[in-house]
């Protein structure tokens, strides 16, 4: 197992390097640059800017400097657009925000989604099943860009219970709506996957055996059905967790959280190369990490899996 983990981590390095190279090239291939603006800069001013940010050097050199900065100093460089900040600072400010509301959304989605899915499967074809399926389909078709304005309309404008946006260091009033808005569609997917996987497991041989030897239904579900039923759910949860903690552009924009999700999209639109690379690497590294976590969990859940 340990050698497997070591091997996976070793593969992560070239994977990340490839990610950096491809993103870097794609980014530079897009028309326009960080200093392209409505009022074109005089050539001399542009030259001064490009010299300051090293954009006057050949592409391979820029890339080499960039990678060296990360490896040697863990320095992702300065932002080309937010000139008071370095990429490290932008991520250090925005990532804790998305990590907070993303983790809470994840917890909420898993808790509610798995409970709904299990309940629906156990009470297959009863009103509870229909209700659970109905709720999860409803949540699925209600994307967060619809959900967010509705929440604000109801809880901010009508009821005046919650502030309509902002973060204020993560005070609870400011967290509730982003968490709910982000979690609903994930919750729905988790409920659907749990339900179908649970139904399949409940029809399998080892459950029939458990029931035949007279185990109470409660034990059958908790001890024998739940664990194997979680396998497909877990493979969904790995990438979903990364998506959630690296933030949602809709949530960031609508609730003005100052999170990393919006910074990422902005950096692409602004051609803020350094920020875009920084967040890409962050998302890439987290994805690799959590895929590994999922694989380890697999082995733990299913003794048949050996690495």
């Amino acid at each position: 197992m340990l050698s497997y983990i070591a091997k996976r981590l070793a593969i992560a390095v070239p994977t990340l390097l490839l990610l950096i190279i491809i993103s870097f090239l794609l980014m530079h291939a897009a028309p326009g640059g960080p200093f392209t603006q409505e009022r074109a800069l005089p050539p001399q001013v542009l030259a001064n800017l490009e010299a300051k940010y090293g954009l006057d050097q050949p592409l391979w050199r820029q890339m080499a400097n960039y990678v060296w900065g990360i490896v040697a100093h863990f320095d992702f460089g300065p932002s080309f657009i937010y000139k008071d900040r370095t990429v490290n600072e932008i991520i250090a400010q925005g990532f804790p925000v998305t990590l907070t509301y993303g983790s809470l959304s994840f917890a909420l989605a898993v808790l509610v989604g798995v409970s709904l899915g299990v309940a629906a499967a156990i009470r297959h074809n009863t009103w509870l099943d229909y209700l659970a399926v109905g709720v999860s389909i409803g949540a699925q078709v209600l994307p967060n860009f619809v959900m967010a304005p509705i929440l604000v309309l109801v809880f901010t404008l009508w009821l005046r219970w919650l502030p309509g946006g902002g973060w204020e260091g993560g005070e609870w009033q400011y967290i509730i709506m982003p968490v709910v808005a982000l979690s609903t569609s994930f919750m729905a997917s988790i409920a659907r996957i749990t339900r179908s996987s649970m139904l399949e497991v409940l029809n399998s041989n080892h459950i029939r055996t458990a029931r035949a030897k007279g185990l109470p239904e409660r034990k059958v579900i908790l001890r024998h059905a739940l664990k194997p039923a979680m396998l497909p759910v877990i493979s969904y949860l790995g990438p979903a967790f990364v998506t959630m903690i690296t933030g949602s552009v809709v949530v960031d924009i609508y609730f003005s959280t100052g999170g990393i999700g919006k910074a990422f999209v902005d950096s692409a639109l602004n051609r803020d190369y350094a920020v875009m690379m920084g967040v890409t690497i962050l998302v890439g590294a987290l994805t690799i990490l959590f895929n590994l976590v999922v694989d380890i969990l697999y082995a733990w859940i299913d003794p048949k899996i050996r690495y």
Partner: protein, 536 residues
């Protein structure tokens, strides 16, 4: 040296009482004097010489103060400078600085702070995107310094003593003093900049000379500013705390305004009529110095053949029903436009543009006639492409224009692209027709008209006219440039290098207890220090 240029003197003396929050007779101040407003995006920099955007400039006006400020209607009022003199050859300005101006750390504000800031703006090492502003101001050696051909110390600005600043410009520039309210000319404290390097703009490090100090700046969330007790006019300042909240989505911002979280926000396109009916005391639509056009590509090599014919360009412009665009599409009180310079620009006299007074039916008839003359019509339809950047309003206008032009037999293909791609294509003459808008840098017609000179860096459609260039060159030294500007506008109407569409308004919601909001300042240069809240 003659004592002050007459117009400037007049402007200054008339406007003198209007700086600082001037509580009107009958107004009772509210207990709460905090002010919260919306900004569209994260503030890119708190450094006056680095900042480039409009929202950032608003923050700069709170944290710093330049030589002059603007009053409620855009007239010049003393800032750090109390007066100035202009030499007989009109190329040397001598500014007299007040002796009670202080930085927020208690240091006195001196002429050297301005010298340092201006050199810093032009210095290639700073790499400011607004370095060209020094060139626009025609400061001696600005271009050479920006180009790295001369050392920074040769920039034509010098401190005669602590309270006297001398600026030399290359040629007379009648509106030079007006350019001094621009944030890039604000002073910075050399000691602080050098002590903290790039981090000098962090809250806690930043030292300014404005009415407010920076308490907190969370990128993409908020900027919090509190009173600067060192500010020379602090006794007359009323708002105690100003907060700028970044809210990208204008509908989200409107909801939060309605829920009482904001005192000022923008009105999303199309919502003004409803809000004006429901909340007449809060919905405002006032002129703003920006002009919206469709630029034609006249480039010799890259422009489409058809657009080289002035009749085609005129036909396209005539066929646009601007009333429908402002009244039915935008619905925010915008003005239909038949010229380039914003109509409310100071000192600008609107020329009589022929087609402005025609009925739309007449324009349409003329358009068809001109197009037929050019050889296009039902048998030989004209195909053109319009580039526009992503925005709901741009799209709606483009669709409307597509319909108008269909009526005269022109097939317009709409080509929507992301902002950077749109800009990149425009600047490389890689377009046929492109949406474009220009906002004035200062309240004078040349900020618009200079753009279509052959030597302008922004003339993306490559309109070339020797007569036009000459008029604009002459206007720089003319005693009264207004007649020359009129002629220049007539050339634009005759040559039609672009189709004017509309002139902007600032459409906003403002809480009814707010005062001193500078709504009649065309440049929308408001100062938090001039605002106050009245008791209900």
């Amino acid at each position: 040296m003659n004592k002050l240029l007459l117009t400037t003197a007049l402007g200054l003396s008339l406007a003198l009482p209007a700086f600082a929050a001037e509580v009107q007779p009958g107004d009772t101040l509210a207990e709460n004097q905090e002010y919260t407003y919306r900004v569209l995006d994260a503030i890119k920099s708190m450094d006056p010489q680095i900042n480039t955007d409009v929202d950032g400039a608003g923050i700069m006006r709170s944290l710093f103060e330049g030589l002059y400020n603007e009053d409620q209607v855009g007239g010049l009022v003393p800032g750090v400078a109390t007066s100035h003199e202009l030499s007989d050859d009109k190329t040397t300005y001598t500014f007299h600085l007040r002796d009670n101006a202080k930085w927020s750390n208690g240091d006195p504000v001196t002429a050297n702070d301005f010298v340092y800031a201006w050199k810093r703006l032009a210095d290639p090492a700073t790499a400011s995107e607004y370095a060209w502003y020094m060139e626009l101001m025609q400061v001696v050696n600005a271009s050479e310094v920006v180009a790295g051909e001369k050392p920074v110390d040769e920039l034509g600005v010098k401190a005669v003593d602590d309270h006297t600043l001398e600026v030399k410009i290359t040629a007379p520039l009648p509106f030079f003093p007006k350019m001094l309210t621009h944030a890039s000319t604000f002073p910075v404290n050399q000691k602080v900049v050098e002590a903290h390097g790039d981090k000098w703009t962090d809250a806690g490090n930043l030292v300014g000379n404005g009415a407010y100090v920076l308490k907190e700046h969370i990128l993409g969330e908020k900027v919090v500013m509190e009173r600067n007790p060192m500010y020379w006019d602090d006794a007359k300042t009323i708002i105690t705390k100003a907060t700028a909240l970044t809210i990208n989505d204008e509908n989200a911002a409107l909801t939060r305004y309605l829920a009482g979280e904001l005192d000022r926000t923008d009105v999303p396109a199309g919502q003004y009529p409803r809000l004006e009916a429901e909340l007449p005391d809060e919905a405002n639509s006032v002129p703003q110095s920006c002009s919206y056009i469709y630029m034609f590509n006249l480039d010799e090599a890259k422009g489409p053949e058809a657009l080289k014919d002035v009749n085609v360009r005129k036909a396209l412009s005539y066929a646009i029903d601007r009333d429908i665009i402002v009244n039915n599409v935008l619905q925010g009180g915008q003005a239909p436009s038949y010229n380039w310079t914003h109509a409310s620009t100071d000192g600008f006299e609107m020329p009589e543009i022929d087609y402005a007074s025609w009925s739309q039916a007449d324009r349409l008839a003329k358009a068809k006639e001109l197009l037929a003359e050019a050889g296009y019509g039902p048998d030989n339809p004209l195909d053109l492409t319009l580039n526009y950047n992503t925005s709901e309003a741009h799209k709606k206008i483009a669709i409307a224009v597509q319909q108008f032009w269909k009526g005269i037999g022109v097939n317009l293909t709409l080509n929507n692209m992301e902002w950077k791609v749109h800009t990149d294509k425009m600047q490389n003459q890689d377009f046929e027709i492109a949406r474009y808008a220009w906002c004035g840098d200062y309240n004078e017609a040349s900020t618009y008209l200079d753009l279509f000179t052959s030597y302008s860096g922004h003339n993306n459609g490559k309109f070339l006219s020797a007569d036009y260039d000459k008029l604009l060159k002459d206007s720089k030294t003319a005693e009264n440039p207004a007649p020359l500007y009129k002629e220049a506008e007539q050339i634009l109407a005759a040559e039609m290098p672009f189709a004017p569409i509309y002139q902007y308004t600032e459409v906003e919601m403002i809480k009814p207890d707010m005062r001193g909001m500078s709504l009649n300042n065309l440049m929308q240069n408001w100062y938090v220090k001039d605002m106050y809240r009245v008791a209900n």
